[in-house]
Each structure stands twice: as structure tokens, then as C-alpha cells.
């Protein structure tokens, strides 16, 4: 079956079936991603995926690309080194909300600040799935998690606002219900020079949905359909999510700013004069 998939060339079919639960949105995001990767105009050999730890962290292992399953929270600095060693690579970081914004939050804001040329895809399911449904920095206030049994008492991050204010040049949010838009957003993000960020709201029925009476995967998708509104260009300050389940989707930021390497080469050429050869990788 899986061999007939039009994008099976980009999947490690020898690793199927995957480990994700039924109703999980990760497979959908991967499906969208491989279509975006196949359609972005870059040869697959040039696209590299770096994941952290967690359910989303396993994405790298299912993609038939050069792919790195790194440590918890650190795919962004790994990707930074990879990109700088070989800037011809298109480096995509694919990880979850806990990995990227709790343990790895500092790396996220600094990569955005530097406008490091990479695409960060965050599958936001509001929970740590791999470890059994603990609270994350995106869990809405009041939502139940295994480590917030009386409801989350903290306020969550609004990820597009965080990315926007830290300096990302491309910021979009879609849900796994919006497969066409999500595919398009990932393609645009890959094609964008600089730090691009796509948040994909995705169901974890097993550990988040069930605890919060959201039903199974299909019910949660139904919820995305009913509760989401598309507002391209929305002010990111206004797109925070809460327990009500309302989700603002769209492309929020698409702007130009010199990337890390562009800025680096410009400054060094100005300081060192004609003796300076633009840095284009170590090889």
C-alpha cells in the first residue's frame, strides 16, 4: 500500500508501520510535509531534517532524507551547525511543542533573532505524548494534563507571537484539518530565506483529547474545522489559544530581513576588505 504513495520516495517505507497512535495528527503533518518538500523545487538530497525528542521527534526517522534525531530540545542548535557547515543545505527542524518551547525555548528565540536560515515546524499537540501526557508551555490554562491533574494553572505561549517578536521572517499556523494550506505553508517556509516558522495544531486524542473530553481523533479534527478561523496577516498578538479551542489560522508574517549569513558576509567584507572571501561553507 505504502509503496503506491506518490511521495513514497521521501518516506522510509522500510520503517513502516510507524509508532504513532491512531487518531494522532503527526502522520497527516508528515504527509503534508513530504508533499511540500517534493514540490518546493529543491532536490531531496539537499533537504535535511533535524528532530528533537518526543513523538514529533520521531518524524526525522520516517523521512527518506538526510535526517537527524538529536537530543531533547536541541534540534535548533544542531541545525545551526549543520547549516553553517554547509549552507547549500535546506535545513528543516521538525519537532514538538515541548521540545521546541520548553527545554529548547532559548534556542528557538536565538535562532529567530539571528535569522538563521532554517525552517522550524512545530507540531503543537499541547502535550508531551511520548512520556504520557504532561503539561507543556502551550497547554491552555485550565486544561488537564497528567502533571496538571487539577487543570493547568499557567498561561501558555502564543507561538506565532513569540516567533514574530523574536524576529522570524515567516510565521504561519494551520491545523491538521487544513492539509492543503499546511502543505502550502510548509512549502513557502522551505522556500523562504531566513528563519521561517510553521505551527501545526495537531490532535493527540490518546493523552490530551481524552483527558479534556475532546473525543477521539476524528472528533478533534471536527473541532478544528468548527473552531478555526482563517485570518491571514492577523496581528500575532491576537492569535493566542485558550481552553475554548478557538484557533486563528493563517499566514501571519512574511517579511524580508538579511539572513545570518548575508549579514555576516556583508559585515566581514566591509571590515576585512577585498581580502575577505564570502563564507559559503567549510568545504
Amino acid at each position: 500500500m505504502v509503496n503506491n504513495n506518490p511521495v513514497s520516495d521521501l518516506l522510509r517505507t522500510d520503517r513502516m508501520p510507524h509508532i504513532w497512535c491512531s487518531g494522532c495528527g503527526l502522520g497527516t503533518t508528515v504527509n503534508c510535509f513530504v508533499r511540500a518538500a517534493a514540490g518546493c523545487g529543491l532536490p531531496p538530497d539537499q533537504i535535511t531534517v533535524v528532530s528533537g525528542i518526543g513523538c514529533t521527534g520521531r518524524v526525522a526517522g520516517y523521512l527518506k532524507l538526510d535526517s537527524f534525531h538529536t537530543t531533547h530540545g536541541r534540534p535548533i542548535p544542531f541545525a545551526t551547525g549543520l547549516k553553517l557547515a554547509n549552507p547549500r543545505l535546506k535545513v528543516v527542524v521538525y519537532s514538538g511543542d515541548g521540545d521546541l518551547f520548553a527545554i529548547g525555548g532559548n534556542h528557538f528565540i536565538h535562532a529567530a533573532r539571528r535569522n538563521m536560515d532554517m525552517t522550524v515546524i512545530c507540531v503543537n499537540n499541547f502535550t508531551y505524548g511520548m512520556t504520557g501526557g504532561q503539561v507543556t508551555p502551550t497547554t491552555p490554562t485550565g486544561a488537564i494534563a497528567s502533571t496538571a491533574p487539577y487543570g493547568n494553572t499557567e498561561d501558555p505561549f502564543n507561538l506565532p507571537y513569540l516567533a514574530d517578536s523574536a524576529g522570524a521572517v515567516y510565521v504561519a499556523r494551520w491545523t491538521t484539518f487544513h492539509v492543503r494550506q499546511a502543505t502550502k505553508a510548509m512549502k513557502e517556509a522551505i522556500q523562504k530565506k531566513g528563519f521561517s516558522f510553521v505551527e501545526l495544531v495537531s490532535p493527540c486524542p490518546t493523552l490530551y483529547g481524552r483527558r479534556n473530553r475532546m473525543g477521539d481523533g476524528l472528533d478533534m479534527m471536527e473541532g478544528y474545522k468548527e473552531n478555526s478561523t482563517i485570518r491571514n496577516g492577523a496581528d500575532t498578538r491576537d492569535v493566542g489559544m485558550d481552553i475554548s479551542g478557538k484557533i486563528v489560522c493563517g499566514k501571519f508574517v512574511d517579511r524580508e530581513r538579511p539572513s545570518f549569513l548575508e549579514q555576516y558576509n556583508t559585515r566581514l567584507a566591509a571590515r576585512l576588505g577585498p581580502s575577505y572571501k564570502n563564507y559559503e561553507g567549510v568545504l
Partner: protein, 396 residues
């Protein structure tokens, strides 16, 4: 392969150990470094920040040591020779990524300019108390290589060796400097590029589609690939099979980790380098490393002037530990003394190897400065007297 002349500042220089380490990295072909400022290692990255752009290299100051220690590994998989540089508190933050490098078999170099600890301790003063951390600091079982320079010249020489060993065995290699060696300035001779031997990275020759990242073909160390070459490989910190795919079985765990350990243990004799003087026939042997080895030599000279038969064994590689050589000497030598700037680290490793078959003396020191040679000298005398009680002290 010979060194790339672009990075080699051939000639005699008056350099401190930190700067000599930077030059060693440049000579070794390191073209990517990531770091975070921390005394007393900062001078290494400062020189790198200024020198790398002139030779086609890249230095990035990361947001912390955790980021630095994994950015270098991304760079290695992108094709660079890479290192990071730190001191105690930063070294603590890097521990997880030493294990990650060991597991993925990422050739890379970590420099720890040891200061007195624990915690913030004495940032501007020397210590040698990270020696066990270098060996065991990351969780799980693995092996690393650690080198201990005792002069700026060796900071240069051993940095080149560290990069070569990292490539040969695909392991993280630690350069365990200390504040005293890092900040002392002495003559450093940088040879011409033709005189510098560089170990090239051994890339796979597998056809596209056939590369298995951990297939060793009967050898201990598999060839590597880099991103972008078309192999479309996967590597992970999870226990993995030859394809690099995660496998949660005890059999694969055994195979995977056993090789990580064996590739160093079985090659220990090739990796270890020692400096010995008059160890044959010695009644007492002082075993030392790093800055402490210089002070030890001074003490040994004092003791020899008294007629004591004292040998010196210097650990240039602290890890792997020279078990074989020490066992050989145990049969002939009555006592072993180890001075170190901690309250017993390498000493206990030495004691394990001596296994009660000779006396062992620890000369602990909290750090902040080095031992007084007189203190080591007195212990040598005491040990010699205990080993050969029939000889009157007055005979000296």
C-alpha cells in the same frame, strides 16, 4: 594528509596555552567552532573568532554551552571539523552532548580549561577536578579519549592530536587543560604544514542507496557520510542497528554499545601516550598529568639529588587510562604517588589498577594554585622510606 597551509602560522611564537590551542585547531583543519564565553577558556574562542574568517572558517557564539556542544556536531555531519571550548560550569552543561557524540560516533573535540570548582569556584585559578567528569559525565556507557597538555606547546600539539584521534576512532576527544597551562605564556613552535600530519575523515564509498551508517564491515569504526551527499541516511541517539534505525532490543543494545566501548578499549595501547623517566628500577613512581606534572618533575629532581630512585610517569592521555603499563610497573615498584588538583580522581583509577600490590599515595589539593614541589618531595621521601625501610634516611 598534510595540514592545509592556510591555517598554519609556521614559526616560533610566544603564546599562552589558550591561544596555542586555537592555533592547534587551525592547523588540524578545524573550520567550525561554537562556544560561549567562560573564564579561563575565553581566549581560545576570541582568537578563533578573529582567525577563522581569514581562513574560510566559521565561529559562532551560541546562546549557551548546551547549544555550542551540539552545534559542533551538526557542523561535523555537515562536513566540518569542529570543536567547542569551555570550563567547568560550561563543561557540566555539555555532558549530554558528549554522550550524543559517543552514540552517533561524531568525531569532535571538546576543550575544558579546568578551573577550581565545584560550581562557580575560582574562575581565574587552576583545578584538575573535571577528570572523572570527562570520563563519566554523560549517562550510559561509552568511552572517550582525554588528553592533558602541560605547556602551551603541548596545547598546540595535542589539539592537533585530538582532532586526529577524533577522526580515527569517531569519538569525542577532550582536551583537559587547566587555567595555569591555558594562561601561561611560553615559546610555541608551529611547524611547517608539510610537517603536520592530519587524519582525514573517512567517508563511505558505498553506492547511493546502499550506505548503512553503522555497518563496520568487520572493522571497529564505520565510515561516515555527510548530509547532502545523496545517501539520505538517518542517525539517532537511540540505540540503533547498522542502518542507523532505532531498535529496542537487548541484543541490539549489546551490539551497539559494546562496539562504542571496544573500539577504544581494544585500541587503548595505540591511543595512550605516556612520558616516562627512570621508571625502570624505581622504588617510587610519581604519576601525574597536566600542570601538576611540571611541579612533580621539580620534586623528583630534588629527591633524586638525595639519591632516591624515583621515576616519573606522565599521563599525556588520561583516558583511556594506561592500565597495562601501570600493571607492568607494579611488580617492580613499591609505591606510586599521585599529586592532583582535586581530592582524588585519577588517583582512584590508579589505585584500582595497582590493586593493593603496591603502596599508593594521594597528594590532594583543592586547586586555586599548584602543589608546592616541596610537598611532593616530602611524600616521595616518605614513600621511599616505607618501601625500603632497611635503608636509613641518613644514608641519603
Amino acid at each position: 594528509m598534510k595540514a592545509d597551509p592556510k591555517g598554519v602560522l609556521t614559526g616560533a611564537h610566544f603564546l599562552d596555552g589558550d591561544h596555542a590551542c586555537s592555533e592547534g585547531a587551525l592547523s588540524a583543519g578545524c573550520r567550525f567552532a561554537a562556544g560561549y564565553p567562560i573564564t579561563p577558556s575565553t581566549e581560545i574562542v576570541e582568537r578563533i573568532a578573529s582567525r577563522f574568517p581569514q581562513v574560510g572558517g566559521m565561529f559562532i557564539q551560541m546562546e549557551d554551552e548546551i547549544a555550542s556542544s551540539i552545534a559542533i556536531q551538526g557542523a561535523v555531519w555537515g562536513g566540518a571539523k569542529a570543536m567547542t571550548v569551555t570550563s567547568g560550569p560550561g563543561f557540566s552543561l555539555m555532558m549530554e552532548h558528549i554522550g550524543f557524540a559517543a552514540m552517533l560516533e561524531t568525531p569532535c573535540v571538546f576543550v575544558d580549561v579546568q578551573r577550581a570548582g565545584p560550581s562557580t569556584g575560582q574562575p581565574t585559578l587552576p583545578g584538575q577536578a573535571d577528570m572523572m567528569q570527562a570520563r563519566w559525565g554523560s549517562h550510559g556507557d561509552y568511552e572517550i579519549i582525554a588528553l592533558c597538555p602541560n605547556s602551551p606547546q603541548e596545547c598546540y600539539d595535542l589539539t592537533i592530536r585530538a582532532f586526529n584521534l577524533a577522526e580515527e576512532y569517531r569519538v569525542p576527544v577532550m582536551i583537559m587543560m587547566d587555567e595555569c597551562v591555558g594562561h601561561m605564556t611560553e615559546k610555541v613552535v608551529i611547524p611547517s604544514p608539510e610537517e603536520i600530519e592530519i587524519t582525514e575523515r573517512r567517508y563511505t564509498t558505498a553506492k547511493l542507496g546502499e550506505y548503512r551508517p553503522y555497518f563496520t564491515d568487520g572493522e571497529m569504526v564505520p565510515p561516515i557520510a555527510k548530509a547532502g551527499d545523496g545517501h539520505r541516511f538517518h542517525v539517532t541517539g537511540l540505540t540503533h542497528d547498522e542502518r542507523g534505525y532505532p531498535v529496542m532490543s537487548p541484543e541490539v543494545q549489546e551490539k551497539c554499545v559494546r562496539r562504542l566501548v571496544d573500539k577504544i578499549r581494544l585500541n587503548a595501547e595505540r591511543i595512550i601516550s605516556l612520558e616516562e623517566s627512570e621508571t625502570e628500577g624505581a622504588d617510587v613512581i610519581v604519576v601525574s598529568y597536566g600542570i601538576t606534572s611540571r611541579v612533580s618533575v621539580k620534586a623528583i629532581e630534588m629527591a633524586r639529588a638525595d639519591g632516591i630512585k624515583v621515576g616519573h610517569l606522565r599521563l599525556i592521555t588520561a583516558w583511556p587510562f594506561p592500565e597495562k603499563r601501570i600493571r607492568e610497573l607494579v611488580g617492580r615498584t613499591g609505591a606510586f604517588i599521585m599529586p592532583e588538583l582535586n581530592y582524588g580522581q585519577m588517583f582512584f583509577e590508579m589505585q584500582r589498577v595497582i590493586d593493593g600490590k603496591a603502596k599508593s599515595y594521594l597528594l590532594p589539593h583543592g586547586g586555586g594554585t599548584v602543589h608546592k614541589p616541596e610537598v611532593i618531595y616530602r611524600t616521595i621521601k616518605e614513600a621511599a622510606l616505607e618501601c625500603r625501610p632497611q635503608v636509613e634516611e641518613s644514608a641519603w
